[in-house]
């Protein structure tokens, strides 16, 4: 295959961004989009006459026969769309939080693997330079064995009392800080430290929302027996943009990392990296790698190009598979259950 025929299902905020990014990749031909809203379809049809526009994703898949699709509809619909795509042998990039059931997520992961189809979930931080570099440092044992960690995420996504029947009033639409944001904070733990096996002491708090939670905290136990805490708040007005922060405490030092840089405190010097005892700062400008086209951040371009490269066989090692998506859902549902006990 030298050109990937691509369809995008769901032209909301993420669909619109993904379209722009991946349309810049020469080996991609976006053949069609599907969305429930006529407004966006009309606008696209008007300016991109050759683009197929569909209300129904099944029709898009049946008529256009794309090689791959990007799924960015509300999470409640992800399972059936991915399942249908799998039946038809289509590679899928699916937005997080992937599905709303760990069982469904696991089923999809197995089905795609069995058919040898590329499957990727949109945990975009896995493509951020600061987190990628942190992973390298952790793997290379620069701060020694990990003892504890803290994974936090803050944003001011929700800043007003909920009005009417919006997407926020149901978890299944991606409502709630746990699906929408804690998923990122959990995935980073899975990526950097070890897959979360169990959760305890979960507390969920409402601030502005009527049904779903706005703040969540929990204690996570990773499969390698490392414990850490999670704290995620999506109505913190002191943050202009969503921000993930991790503190990783090891035998030989600790790492503080967010999307923009890394601070490392070393108990002893490291010659390989030139880190001295005490604090060392690594700015994003020291470690970034350029992307061919920039819309929303390096990582957004990188994750989609990576997906296409996997399809084209230009890369072999997947970075964020459906299995990774299923792992996060396992923890999230563990937290929903655990919260009811507390």
């Amino acid at each position: 295959m030298d050109k990937v025929k691509l369809g995008i299902i769901g032209m909301g905020r993420m669909g619109i961004t993904h379209y722009s990014i991946i349309n810049s990749y020469k080996s991609v031909d976006i053949v069609a989009v599907a969305d429930a809203s006529n407004l966006i379809l009309d606008v696209l049809k008007k300016y991109i006459p050759q683009l197929g526009v569909y209300k129904d994703y099944k029709e898009l898949i049946d008529v256009e026969k794309p090689d791959a699709i990007i799924v960015c509809t509300p999470p409640v619909s992800h399972f059936e769309i991915c399942e249908y795509a799998c039946e038809k042998g289509i590679h899928v990039f699916c937005e997080k939080p992937f599905t709303v059931s760990p069982v469904d997520a696991q089923k999809l992961s197995e089905a795609f693997e069995a058919k040898g189809l590329i499957n990727q979930v949109g945990y975009v931080n896995r493509f951020n330079d600061a987190f990628t570099f942190t992973r390298k440092l952790v793997k290379e044992n620069v701060i020694g064995d990990i003892i504890r960690f803290r994974s936090e995420m803050f944003s001011c996504t929700i800043s007003k009392k909920e009005e009417g029947e919006g997407w926020r009033n149901k978890r299944e639409n991606g409502g709630g800080v746990t699906y929408e944001m804690a998923s990122h904070a959990i995935d980073l733990v899975n990526y950097l430290i070890g897959t979360v096996g169990s959760v305890q002491g979960t507390v969920m708090t409402q601030v502005y929302s009527k049904v779903v939670e706005d703040i969540v905290s929990s204690t996570l136990r990773c499969s390698n027996d490392v414990y850490g805490t999670l704290y995620v708040n999506w109505c913190d007005k002191s943050y202009r943009k969503p921000s993930n922060k991790l503190e990783i405490f090891g035998h030989k030092g600790k790492i503080l990392v967010d999307q923009h840089g890394i601070k490392i405190f070393m108990n002893e010097g490291n010659d390989q990296y030139g880190y001295h005892i005490g604090w060392n700062t690594i700015y994003i400008t020291d470690i970034f790698t350029p992307v061919p086209f920039y819309v929303r951040g390096y990582e957004f371009t990188r994750q989609l190009y990576y997906f296409v490269d996997l399809i084209l066989g230009l890369r072999e090692e997947p970075i964020c598979t459906f299995k990774d998506g299923a792992n996060v859902l396992q923890s999230i549902h563990g937290m929903f259950k655990d919260n009811l006990k507390n």
């Binding site: 961004t17 379209y19 300016y47 400008t285 929303r296």
Partner: protein, 294 residues
């Protein structure tokens, strides 16, 4: 096209924006909570010879513009380079309500002009959805309102919007933006981008000229897609009669020292530099270091 100011004073430092350090951003946001501290820094910049200001249409811009309009006699020589929209306002609205309701709210809460009332009468968003250009014009009107009455030279569209639209490769949107801004407001259209080589090649292909292009330009290639070499080549081959180039992020958020940063910038065929600083020492240093070829 009319030459733009060689040095333009930016605004990130006033609004708690520092791409490198959250602590620094926080400290700045505390200092500039009192808006009179912002005016003091502007006065220092003007005293040292700066005559041009870039200002994003964020929550505080309205008050700042009001101040400069109210003190017009003192600041009548200042040229303004506003940028629209304030992306986070939209990001939050979109997160809360969805894309079209967000646009709806901005347009209908901020405009009371006849055209909008007419549009509502004809069926509101459904009508606007069929006429995206009209929708864009209404959004520009809503954002531009606070800058009316200032001596505006260039109206910039923010990179998040420019680059998003660039990915779609739709000529009409860029063409209509530039025409609208020229005709209705009599100002030069400006586009901010992190993809200068690609944007410029598309504008040329589409025959859209006399535009100011503002882009991150620094020697380490930070926020420059696809890479430094392509930037240097594009800038070298540019005719400033068609496109004037304004460099931003020249220090790459502080990764490069000012001396080295401007050695690189001064060698290039660049018409203007926008920079932000909050200390007189840094403002003066930059003014002294910028020595463009024009």
């Amino acid at each position: 096209m009319e030459a733009i100011d060689k040095i333009v004073f930016g605004d990130n430092q006033f609004f708690g924006i520092n791409h490198m350090s959250q602590e620094k951003a926080q400290a700045l946001s505390e200092r500039f909570y009192d808006i009179s501290n912002i005016y003091k820094v502007y006065d220092i910049a003007f005293k040292n010879g700066i005559n041009a200001v870039m200002l994003n249409s964020n929550e505080r811009a309205k008050e700042i513009c009001g101040y400069f309009k109210a003190n017009h006699s003192r600041y009548s020589h200042i040229n303004w380079y506003p940028s629209i929209p304030y992306p986070h306002k939209y990001a939050h609205l979109v997160a809360e309500k969805g894309i079209f309701p967000a646009i709806n709210e901005v347009i209908f809460n901020n405009n009371s002009v006849f055209g909008v009332l007419e549009t509502i009468a004809k069926g509101g968003m459904a009508v606007l959805g069929k006429n995206p250009i009209k929708m864009m014009q209404l959004l520009i009107d809503a954002e531009y309102r606070i800058f009316k009455g200032l001596n505006v030279k260039v109206l910039f569209l923010q990179n998040i919007i420019v680059d998003l639209l660039l990915g779609y490769g739709i000529k009409e949107v860029f063409y209509e933006y530039c025409e609208f801004v020229r005709k209705k407001y009599n100002v030069t259209p400006g586009l901010i981008t992190q993809n200068l080589p690609f944007l410029k090649s598309k504008l040329e292909e589409w025959g859209i000229k006399e535009v100011v292009i503002c882009s991150s330009i620094n020697k380490i290639g930070y926020l420059m897609s696809p890479n430094v070499d392509e930037y240097v080549l594009t800038i070298e081959n540019n005719n400033p009669k068609d496109y004037q180039i304004m460099a931003m992020s020249t220090l790459a958020s502080g990764a490069i020292n000012a001396q080295k940063a401007y050695e690189f910038i001064n060698r290039l065929n660049i018409q203007s530099v926008v920079f932000g600083a909050s200390q007189e020492k840094n403002i003066c240093e930059t003014i002294n270091l910028v020595n463009l070829q024009i």
